[in-house]
Symmetry: C2
Subunit: 434 residues, 2 copies
């Protein structure tokens, strides 16, 4: 037993060839497409403009694409910019095992370092998969108390995953990769107190940038305390970490990343199960609908149950609005479906008055039951977000979401690049063209 069992195990994992990862690699391809879509869709958010201004101010060696930047920027800066921008809409994937957004922290680091090094696309996808898996494991090792205390796992656990992805691409050996993790012990940061501000997406950017920086420093001969994550005054113990070694269970055989959740609706996560359930019940013609009854866990009634939303933002937190929008055929994956105009639309307002939301403590937080009455006849459907989707279904839904955000032509291009494991520079160039 070494002093750093978690660090050593994850470093060995990150230095080794992939085995038995075929399904996880398929999921990674979906997350990469999803990441490309949300990153591109967020490219003009105010926070994107602020980080791009920083990048333009610094300039530097043209190593990697940063969304909306011309020319290329250094890899660390590309990771900062792309990590931030891709989380700006809060529409990227989530892993509920540790509650973090693995893709926005790790994929930007892998793409930037891969492009800097001229790595092949397959190597970048492998590094990204290793990185997201490691970030989930670190997040589980840190545990729920770390999150509850105020730390944003996307930023904290994410940095370690980003560092391993970047370090693997640099060809670091297991000892050096352990050093990357040790160095990140003193560099990783990120708090939930920034939620609701530009600071939240920035947390993803700093995770990605910290990972790239630490990997480069170790490659340049930096010799840190390897135990910086795990020792008595390391990152874990000082940041309310549980140190749960069960986090390593099945490492290298079981890919926790396969359970990542993609967001398929551009609204509060509390509304998603209801949208999935009602989709099974909707008639071609909504005129005959006399009522839509939504039964959900009581916690959501104070989160996303605005009965008469007046704005697009309020619409994202309204069962009534999203049930009406879905019944009228609006695509709830599209950002443009959540507008002030549609919140005031007479047809939508008429239908949302037929929606009734009731609490049901017997339902888990992730499940919702919908009962729709059409021409006097009632039908019911339920959905639980934790129910695994067949991979093929997931692929269809991710692609539909991407098309809702970017249009069919652009998604066809991106999908083709990802399927053929195109080089990271090619993906970056395509994103910057969109």
């Amino acid at each position: 037993m070494t002093e750093t069992p978690l660090t050593d195990a994850l470093a060995r994992f990150a230095a080794a060839p992939l085995t038995g990862a075929e399904r996880a690699q398929e999921v990674l391809k979906l997350s990469l497409l999803d990441w490309c879509a949300v990153a591109t869709a967020g490219h003009n958010e105010p926070v994107a403009q602020a980080v791009r201004a920083l990048a333009a101010d610094e300039g530097g060696t043209p190593q990697a694409h940063a969304i909306g930047c011309d020319p290329l920027v250094p890899a660390r800066m590309a990771a900062l910019v792309n990590g931030t921008i891709s989380h700006a809409l809060d529409y990227d994937d989530t892993h509920f095992a540790h509650i973090g957004h693995p893709s926005v922290a790790v994929i930007p680091a892998a793409l930037a370092m891969g492009e800097r090094l001229g790595a092949i696309g397959a190597a970048v996808q492998e590094a990204a998969l290793i990185g997201v898996e490691a970030s989930i494991r670190v997040g589980q090792w840190l545990g729920r108390d770390h999150y509850q205390a105020g730390f944003h796992q996307t930023a904290t656990a994410g940095a370690f995953g980003a560092g391993l992805a970047a370090g693997r691409l640099l060809g670091l050996d297991a000892g050096q990769l352990a050093d990357v993790m040790g160095l990140l012990g003193t560099r990783a940061s990120g708090l939930k107190s920034q939620f609701g501000t530009m600071g939240k997406p920035f947390n993803a950017g700093i995770a990605a940038a910290n990972g790239v920086e630490a990997a480069l420093l170790v490659a340049h001969g930096f010799d840190p305390r390897r135990a910086g994550l795990e020792d008595a005054q390391g990152f874990g113990p000082t940041h309310h970490g549980a140190g749960d070694m069960d986090a390593l269970q099945g490492l290298g055989q079981i890919w926790l990343f396969e359970q990542v959740s993609h967001k398929f609706h551009a609204c509060c996560h509390g509304l998603h199960a209801a949208l999935e359930a009602v989709a099974e019940l909707l008639p071609a013609d909504p005129d005959g609908i006399t009522s839509i009854e939504v039964a959900t866990h009581p916690r959501w009634l104070t989160v996303c149950n605005i009965a008469s939303p007046a704005t697009g933002l309020e619409a994202k937190f309204s069962y009534a609005q999203v049930m009406a929008l879905a019944a009228l055929g609006y695509d709830t994956a599209r950002l443009g479906t959540f507008t002030d105009a549609l919140a005031r639309d007479p047809q939508v307002k008429a239908l949302r008055q037929k929606v009734r939301v009731t609490p049901d403590e017997t339902l888990p937080e992730t499940a919702t039951r919908v009962r729709l009455t059409l021409n006097g006849e009632a039908r019911e459907a339920s959905h639980d977000l934790l129910t695994p989707l067949p991979l093929s279904t997931r692929a269809v839904k991710v692609r539909a979401k991407a098309e809702a955000l970017l249009g069919q032509d652009k998604v066809r291009d991106l999908h083709g690049l990802i399927e053929k494991s195109a080089a990271p520079g090619e993906i970056g160039a395509t994103l910057c063209k969109l």
Copy 2:
């Protein structure tokens, strides 16, 4: 009472003109000279080479001097490089109120941002003074538990001081400066677990770089949670902070920075009081010395009491060695006094056998009593490191230390530049020439 009383008070302080700071400004000039000396002396340490390699890799807009880098680098990178290099020898100043190294975190941020903006030297020195003072106040607000839990105040409290210094130079108003602090709540990091590795000096670099980055982002329109330092899940509460509002006492009238301690000997701090005491007793000719008795707090006996050091590194932790070196006229401010050769020198070895070290629990940790017997006659002197030095004495000692590190000519140049409040670019250019 606002939600962020500490943040608001420090932001207003950082936006306002200086008043009654004449003495503090003199101390800042001493710290600036001291900083220049230790930074230049550390320029070839292995950690300096690692961070310079990172800077060379990234390149970027030539905004500021980084020690040993050619050409200039972006301000953020200059702060990272210079902060790291200046702490590499661990020979810079210390403030014991919060236990941190204020100059290495703040001065690099002020110089880099000042040079980037073409600011006048007086403005840079004012910003640096505001920054170091604010870092001590934040450090006191975080309190001793924060340090004991494992956080390196140089890095954590230092980042907030660096951010205020950089933001003041950018002309940010008090509200924007408060935003800089809020943003740093999610970005600041740094652990003591890196002590004894390259990670320790790097912590100073990340504080300086984080400060520059946060100030630039706010100037570019970044809108973070302003309460990111203070709110329930802000930096303080999540990082074992005490939230001690006494930290604001006398802000703007009393300058805590005036109590900063400069290191005058290139060895363990536990030996410094003994060196100051013995200096009062030393004869011109050491031949008649029959014994040197050192009485010190028992904690130091396990820290720096190697009786027969075999190497230069061990010599830095040996009462016997440093008493012998001082008696023989070696300059203990010089790095070159702590060599393997001198640890094996017959004359030094003979004299150090006459040194006896005894514990005395009645002495404070900062004090030592030395009894020197010369030709049968005993004399005694004591020194407490917390005894304030007259400013003029301090100036002489800082200059002598700088000369021991850099030589008289170079120190004359630097001293002249600092006295005339030369522009930061001129100071940077001089450092890079040394």
